[in-house]
């Protein structure tokens, strides 16, 4: 058994895996939906159509429920590197610590500095200033994702550094930041957040149309959402394929695990080109106990040639091999979801082309709407499985080929590690359960169609005080349109 699978190290991995998996539930909505909210706000300001405003305010409520959970779990992540992986943090600190420092200063704080204005600034600051705040929240959360993917991408393909006196010291910042994995991994993750948020919009819209509540309003939202998805979903599949080829090149053990590819060559000496649809892998025996294979597909996928050689697990020492079960099946689930979501986007736009994307038509054949509601959950699963593939495929390394996971684990015992795990299971489930419960509460309540549109009257002061506090330099005319 490799050291990474012995109890204290395995527990430290589980500790980190759990908080990461629970954190990544929230960030995609923060990153992706902030852009969508910005577009809704711009649409309202440009056209003056009230329905864009109503939709913005409605989804903003869901956004803020999600946001609190994202921040709370994110603060944990920031500290967990040092707590659970102290020696790792020290060794990678010269690069990785700097990047996390960049992230807190240019992104985390940047976002926090505008989120209050975005959520509670309605009526307290001008419309233009408010749209600016929303834009800053969107930009800062995307920047945050970028820095995190720089750091994580570098763990996958560490370039631009040299190991000296137990520290990874940077020799070339450019190469270290724009490491090969980041260049494709970041677009893949960022597009995932947009795709997830668009399906969030689509699923909520579909639910309202199904229930025949504000059906026309949500059909209005569904149209541009589906149009965006017909571009985003195939783009994501394309970028995913690029990332797969990148991993094949820079992290062959991970690719071999993802594809359950044990033998580089067949017994007759020819390259093993078969792609496994499903398999029962046995890592210790170094083979699949059972598999359904399609010849040439693996070579086509990874090398874009008919007979290209794809390095298999047999080229690596047993203690350098990752687990195969998790990457193999996680990867397949993610890919299947990617294609299913593409089909949903095609279906929706095909309905629109035939003029059938209206509330009455859709309700007559509710299968599309029901599947759309179901599709709202799938991107979450795809993000999870994708990240698991990435992280478990990299094992037994924490910095690929340079630092093994056990070398980075903190000085702590099984008791402390278990205490962490149990505590975080309780708290993060509370967060998850609470957030999803309040999502349903907000959705059931529906958009507020009655309260006056902000800026439509001069009287925005509340009985409880703390109302309109116009900044002296905000143009007063901003609040007096209509």
């Amino acid at each position: 058994m490799i050291i990474e699978d012995t109890l204290p190290v395995l527990l430290s991995r589980l500790d980190f895996a759990w908080i990461t998996s629970m954190h990544i539930l929230w960030t995609p909505v923060t990153i992706g939906m902030s852009w969508l909210l910005f577009f809704l706000e711009i649409a309202w300001l440009r056209t003056g159509n009230e329905h864009w405003y109503r939709l913005q305010r409605f989804f903003e409520k869901l956004f803020i429920v999600n946001f609190g959970a994202g921040v709370a779990t994110g603060v944990t992540m920031e500290m967990a590197f040092g707590i659970l992986y102290g020696p790792f943090s020290q060794a990678v600190g010269p690069f990785f610590g700097n990047i996390l420092g960049f992230e807190t200063i240019t992104a985390f704080m940047y976002e926090a500095g505008f989120i209050g204005l975005m959520i509670f600034g309605w009526g307290k600051i001008g419309k233009g200033m408010h749209a600016f705040a929303t834009f800053n929240v969107a930009l800062s959360s995307s920047l945050s994702a970028m820095w995190i993917l720089v750091a994580n991408g570098w763990m996958q393909s560490p370039t631009g550094i040299v190991l000296k006196n137990g520290l990874f010291q940077v020799t070339n910042w450019w190469q270290a930041i724009f490491n090969p994995n980041f260049n494709i991994g970041f677009p893949h993750m960022w597009i995932a957040t947009v795709e997830l948020s668009l399906f969030f919009f689509a699923a909520v819209s579909a639910w309202f149309i199904l229930k025949n509540r504000h059906a026309d309003l949500f059909t209005k939202l569904l149209k541009p959402t589906l149009l965006a998805l017909i571009i985003i979903t195939p783009l994501q599949i394309f970028i995913g394929d690029e990332l797969g080829r990148e991993v094949a090149q820079d992290q062959p053990t991970s690719l071999a695990a993802m594809e359950g590819h044990f033998h580089t060559y067949l017994p007759d000496g020819k390259p093993n080109t078969s792609w496994n649809l499903i398999a029962i892998p046995d890592v210790s025996a170094g083979k699949n106990l059972f598999s359904i294979q399609i010849p040439h597909v693996l070579s086509l996928l990874e090398t874009h040639t008919w007979d290209g050689v794809v390095t298999g697990m047999d080229q690596f020492a047993p203690n350098d091999r990752p687990n195969v079960w998790v990457p193999f099946y996680s990867f397949r689930i993610m890919v299947a979801i990617g294609f299913f979501l593409f089909l949903m986007a095609l279906w929706g736009n095909w309905l629109r082309l035939r003029g059938k994307l209206t509330a009455e038509h859709l309700r007559k054949n509710p299968l599309f709407l029901r599947l759309l509601v179901f599709s709202g959950f799938l991107p979450y699963l795809a993000v999870w499985t994708g990240w698991w593939t990435r992280e478990i495929g990299r094992q037994p390394w924490v910095v690929y080929n340079l630092m093994r996971t056990w070398q980075g684990v903190s000085h702590m015992g099984v008791t402390a590690e278990s205490f962490w795990l149990i505590g975080y299971i309780i708290f993060e489930l509370m967060v998850w359960g609470g957030a999803w419960y309040f999502f349903t509460r907000v959705i059931q309540k529906g958009p507020d169609m009655n309260s006056p549109v902000i800026g439509s009257s001069d009287q925005d002061a509340h009985s409880s005080g703390g109302g309109m506090a116009k900044p002296a330099f905000a143009k007063p005319t901003m609040n007096k349109q209509h």
Partner: protein, 359 residues
């Protein structure tokens, strides 16, 4: 080579000062929010608690994020300190984080809750209490230092491991942080938070509001408690901390001036508070924090963690520290500017009725 070391040590000292600044900003801003949360446990009416929450609705997240910035700066500028110290502080940080999580989600859930409203109100107050208590414990534990060793942290021995016998890791146990002093600093943090929180609420609520009246009384009580806590902490620190010997050393005169500045600020805070000049009282309270934290930072010099990590031993290697300085220093004033703007937008006094409104 000497030149490089000098640059390195200068940059290290620069980030050490900046780190001190970030901690002060965090303590002044979030200390008040946490303290207000602790005070909210004393309110019986759920709507009053909601009013306390809405008083900081637009700013709590940014205030809390200064802690993340401080954490990020430790990781970026002092990664060796970060990896060892956070490992040492595992248990207190874990509890503080659970408090922060409970409090953060309570903000978003409380407004939508009906049957669970009381529960989330409690989680807001109790989460604030746990976060402040354990942050204080972590601070006290840090001041006492911790044992380190250079072997593999998990005790796994393998031939030619490039990561052993180089950087020292934490080598105590999970409960090393626990001592009478660290428990006391935890309690001290609660008292200081209570003072800052009630002063903050006085500045945020209309002066005839019932919440204002309660907070005003509590702040008076907390200010006496805080004064006593400061005296106890100073005497205790002088008795057990080797670096505190500076206070009576050659430059005793400077330390005396600092002490007088603290006492004047405390006096100003209390008179302003009594005269209902709430914002001035809050600012004088902030001044006490600045003086005390600055004094603590200066006492520890050249250590960043007393008797454990010096600034230069814990800092990032020179070229990486230079990059951090080059790219990040310019952002600091920008960051402070938009935070001031956000706080300024939400400056108007509110009333307890704010608790009846959903956001």
């Amino acid at each position: 080579m000497d030149e490089i070391f000098r640059i390195h040590s200068t940059l290290g000292t620069f980030w050490w000062i900046l780190l001190g600044v970030f901690f002060v900003i965090y303590i002044v801003l979030d200390g008040a929010d946490l303290g207000a949360g602790v005070f909210s446990l004393l309110l019986n009416n759920e709507n009053d608690r909601a009013a306390v929450m809405s008083s900081m609705a637009g700013t709590w997240d940014a205030n809390e994020t200064w802690l993340v910035v401080a954490g990020g700066v430790i990781f970026g500028a002092f990664p060796l300190v970060y990896g060892a110290t956070f490992n040492y502080l595992m248990i207190p940080l874990m509890f503080a984080l659970w408090g922060i999580i409970s409090r953060a989600v309570a903000f978003e859930f409380h407004v939508h809750a009906k049957s669970s409203r009381k529960f989330w109100g409690f989680m807001f107050g109790f989460g604030s209490l746990i976060a402040a208590l354990f942050a204080g414990i972590a601070l006290g534990a840090t001041l006492l230092g911790f044992p380190m060793a250079t072997g593999n942290a998990q005790g796994i021995q393998v031939a030619n491991d490039p990561f052993v016998n180089t950087v020292p890791h934490f080598s105590g146990n999970a409960l090393s942080f626990l001592s009478a002093f660290s428990v006391w600093t935890g309690i001290g943090a609660l008292i200081a938070g209570g003072l800052a929180g009630t002063l903050y609420l006085c500045a945020r609520f209309e002066q005839n509001d019932p919440i204002y009246l309660k907070a005003h009384k509590a702040a008076t009580l907390f200010s006496f408690l805080a004064l006593a806590a400061v005296v106890i902490t100073l005497i205790w620190s002088y008795a057990i901390m080797p670096d505190a010997a500076k206070w009576t050393g050659n430059s005793w005169f400077g330390w005396l001036i600092l002490l007088i500045a603290i006492l004047i600020s405390a006096y100003k805070m209390m008179t302003n508070h009594a005269a209902h000049r709430d914002f001035s009282a809050l600012l004088w309270c902030g001044a006490i924090v600045v003086f005390m934290w600055g004094g603590m930072w200066a006492t520890n010099f050249p250590y960043i963690i007393p008797q454990t990590w010096t600034i230069s031993a814990g800092a990032n290697p020179a070229n990486d520290l230079a990059i951090l300085t080059l790219f990040m220093t310019g952002f600091v004033p920008v960051m402070i500017t938009y935070n001031i703007y956000q706080i300024w937008v939400f400056r108007k006094r509110i009333t307890h009725l704010a608790g009846y409104e959903s956001h």
